[in-house]
Subunit: 270 residues, 2 copies
């Protein structure tokens, strides 16, 4: 089965729209936008509208200081703040992400929100990529407990949170990195999540028949966005997410679902 990420995203966004009692306001802070980041932001804007929300984009110049970025984050008047990554090199990314107040951190990028998630605390939000994996698995009726899971990559956005989540779900988890990386181990995995950002890293011969292959890697190759998995892997997988059109759109929808959860929480806390 090839996952139709756009259809799932549409479904999630419609649910978000129904669940909120007023239009949500999400601020995206972006420093020195490139054509690629503008393109991501215009997709996020369109999805925000589908969710019944508005994306306010704050564009800062390349010369912005940490204090400027943090001021833009802290400015009142929104339900959530997202910081578009990557930031220019002269800025301390961790310090900036940690400035996002937890009650506004729909992307789970501050270390406090991330730690609550990784410790599986009951009120923690799932990072959008993890929420999209959860969504794909549950819609495919695949239950991670007891399964052998291989996670390719250890990045902050895909590998690290995915490994942490699968451990918390009771799966048997192995992380494969480019350094340690012996891809032959992937043949033993029931579920593979990959976030390496290496085009065509994963090939059909690495897989066991019937594997669930969730490709959350993205890189550019010849002007096109491609994933970590050779598209030929689809034939061997019982569940396969294409790039583009798989994890990406679902993760964006899950981001706005997180905003709705934060809005609901703020409402309850008065």
């Amino acid at each position: 089965m090839i996952i139709d990420g756009r259809a799932i995203a549409t479904d999630i966004l419609a649910g978000v729209r129904e669940s909120i009692s007023r239009a949500g306001m999400v601020r995206a802070v972006v420093v020195s936008p490139t054509p690629a980041t503008e393109s991501y932001l215009s997709i996020k804007s369109a999805r925000a509208e589908e969710a019944g929300m508005h994306l306010e984009i704050v564009r800062l110049a390349e010369s912005a200081t940490e204090a400027d970025v943090i001021e833009a984050i802290e400015e009142p008047g929104c339900d959530a703040v997202i910081v578009q990554l990557p930031l220019p090199e002269h800025l301390d990314e961790k310090k900036i992400l940690d400035a996002i107040p937890e009650r506004l951190d729909a992307d789970v990028l501050s270390i406090r929100a991330y730690a609550r998630f990784s410790l599986d605390e009951p009120d923690a939000l799932l990072p959008p990529v993890v929420a999209s994996i959860d969504e794909i698995l549950s819609r495919s009726k695949v239950y991670p407990a007891g399964k052998g899971v291989a996670v390719v990559g250890q990045g902050r956005l895909v590998g690290a949170p995915s490994a942490s989540w699968f451990v918390n779900q009771g799966a048997e988890v192995m992380v494969v990195t480019k350094e340690s990386g012996d891809l032959s181990m992937l043949r033993e995995a029931d579920i593979i999540v990959t976030g390496a950002g290496s085009p065509c890293l994963i090939k059909p011969e690495h897989l066991q028949e019937g594997v669930v292959l969730i490709d959350a890697g993205t890189s550019e190759s010849g002007g096109a966005i491609v994933g970590d998995a050779d598209p030929a892997c689809a034939a061997k997988a019982s569940v396969f997410t294409p790039v583009p059109g798989g994890v990406g759109p679902i993760a964006v929808a899950c981001l706005f679902r997180n905003v709705a959860i934060l809005m609901e929480r703020a409402l309850q806390e008065g």
Copy 2:
């Protein structure tokens, strides 16, 4: 091989003593001490002296408020602060632990220090129990990469950080909890770390011959401190840590080694 935790602890503490250029000052904040906590504190005091440090114990009454505890934590004049757990129920444990400044958090109990550890950041300290596992494995020449590891329990002090660390080391990790818990899976593990706090939970028939069994569980049974593993497991294990006298003393020594690292870092940062 049965690990002699006290001998390893003595060795680590002697190394710490040599590495520091002045006596370290560690503050232990304890609310409403019981005979058990007083006993732990007197052990920690003795180990502090072995490390060339002094343990200043601040005892607060049962009626202490969160603000009182946080004030005791924030009072200047020490190289590290430890908060003796458990705290009385009326206090918000997370809030109090998060008040420990990272530069003083030798126990890695604040969520920021914990998150840096779980994300495997280069400057992160290892929580003392994890550091003791690392010490036991490296002294036994057991390398976790590629090994099958079962972690029993998901607590904040043993299960959660151990699982996180083994994933970062490239092991294949499975967490077994009392709820999900099927102990028959332990037979497949090369390394078992247990922190359930259930006397004699793990029995020889759960183990494969030659397993490395690290018992970090402690509970009281008939007035004695016992671990999670039936002592009969020692015969089947290639490496076995007894309780008492295994992980416990090594973890205390690693706590003071963490203090020495924090002191060195403060010195370098001027």
